[in-house]
Symmetry: C2
Subunit: 274 residues, 2 copies
């Protein structure tokens, strides 16, 4: 059964969106649509143009016999500016303040649209890097880690605070939490990460960076390395930052419990190099 161009474009768009970073040979499409290579190339040129125009992603063409296309998610700076502005308004709401100066974030972390957008930002920055897995720590980092991993086509590795029988044998480390200076434990199932993996670390929140530092120590136990660190929110004015290179979407500059004020601003996303 042969397909019309209009039909191919709909299916091709869906297919590419669902297979980010994978190398798709042109022959896959010529067979799928019973169409000539030249027609498929023209289709892909249209998809590429629109993906670029709307800030959906980059379609990279790989020439040669083993060639094909790869879709990398991207973002448009103006869209990100708008999204971050909305996020700042949401997070700055005084009713978010909890006793002790903590912020209620469950509604943000529980919103798939927001998680998806943030995951897209992280994947846009790190999509071209050599990454085998996304790592996070249970519980609140999980949605963001999955949103990111979906755009990178890699698995998620979830570190826990406690060992569970359903994890099998585990590797555990002790680390010092940066802000409270308490000794804590982190556990990762032995099976869950291959030796030598390149990992993107993702979390919802970073104060001094103790938890992220703990994940870095854990990676060493697996002879693994990190390709980058991404957090949704960082807290400024931390005396001793344990982590130096990271990407943040928003920055919490002040929490004034007494006057019920939260001050937030853009994170380092726009200053962050590729």
């Amino acid at each position: 059964m042969s397909w019309k161009r209009s039909e191919r474009l709909v299916d091709m768009t869906h297919y590419l969106l669902n297979h980010p970073r994978e190398i798709i040979p042109l022959s896959f499409f010529t067979e799928r649509y019973q169409a000539a290579k030249s027609s498929i190339s023209e289709d892909l040129a249209i998809v590429k143009e629109i993906f670029s125009r709307k800030g959906i992603g980059d379609l990279m063409t790989i020439p040669g016999a083993a060639g094909g296309v790869r879709f990398f998610v991207s973002v448009k700076e103006e869209d990100v500016k708008l999204f971050v502005k909305e996020l700042l308004a949401m997070i700055g709401r005084p009713d978010r303040l909890l006793p002790g100066g903590y912020l209620y974030m469950a509604d943000i972390v529980g919103n798939p649209k927001i998680m998806d957008k943030v995951g897209q930002l992280f994947a846009a920055k790190f999509g071209r890097a050599d990454i085998d897995a996304v790592m996070t720590v249970a519980t609140k980092g999980i949605p963001l880690a999955f949103a990111t991993a979906r755009y990178l086509s890699v698995p998620v590795v979830i570190v826990r605070r406690d060992s569970k029988i359903t994890e099998g044998s585990t590797v555990s480390i002790n680390y010092v939490s940066g802000s409270a200076k308490r000794i804590q434990t982190m556990v990762l199932s032995k099976k869950s990460l291959k030796e030598g993996s390149r990992v993107l670390i993702v979390d919802d929140f970073m104060k001094a960076g103790g938890t992220i530092n703990g994940m870095i120590s854990l990676l060493k136990e697996f002879q693994a390395t990190y390709a980058g660190i991404c957090v949704l929110a960082e807290v400024e004015n931390v005396k001793e930052r344990l982590v130096d290179q990271y990407l943040s979407v928003i920055k919490i500059t002040k929490i004034d419990e007494k006057n019920k004020k939260i001050e937030v601003e853009e994170g380092n996303f726009f200053q962050f190099g590729e």
Copy 2:
């Protein structure tokens, strides 16, 4: 700037896939593409045909002045059969057996492609129902809950086993775990669920159903109700099942620790009514 049909189709496909279940007025598209209503209707007919042919989803047209389109995710039975078959082969591998007859599932739960597919199945069955949120319990249900919620355009509500300071005031209940007959606690932040919500309960694993029963009790505290129960894997041969109506993708029929054999088969997905 006016758009060609081929260009509109690429962007429209992306837009619809990212806005499941939302009512999108035709005027949104006529303005976005500077095109006549008749052209947009023709575009949508093409998208509808391909979405149906490839089992991507149903495009529902809402006639009248306030009309528009709604995209509901769907699945093709033959694709689901194939997917479940692959999943059964993965889960039936003897190296998954842990001491005590537990199964290692972290690789399945950590795979965004599998979680996405399962979420699509759940959303295909419950997409037309009146659902305000997806509920799950930390930790392993979270990826599946998000994958489902993304296809339903609703938030995720995460129940915890312990209360955290960052949750604010909480409601907690005690429940009896079905298999171990132990009393356990479940906690949900007061802010995280509106009174009267209709909730889809999602989890990775169900034995007797104690955890799910606990979530149902918790819903009552919020004057909320459940629209359905979806689990990735159910365990058969449970003496006393605490939950009667649920959807499962796979069924674990036997775990033979001594001979290192796991027997798995299709869940009730194909028998489950809409």
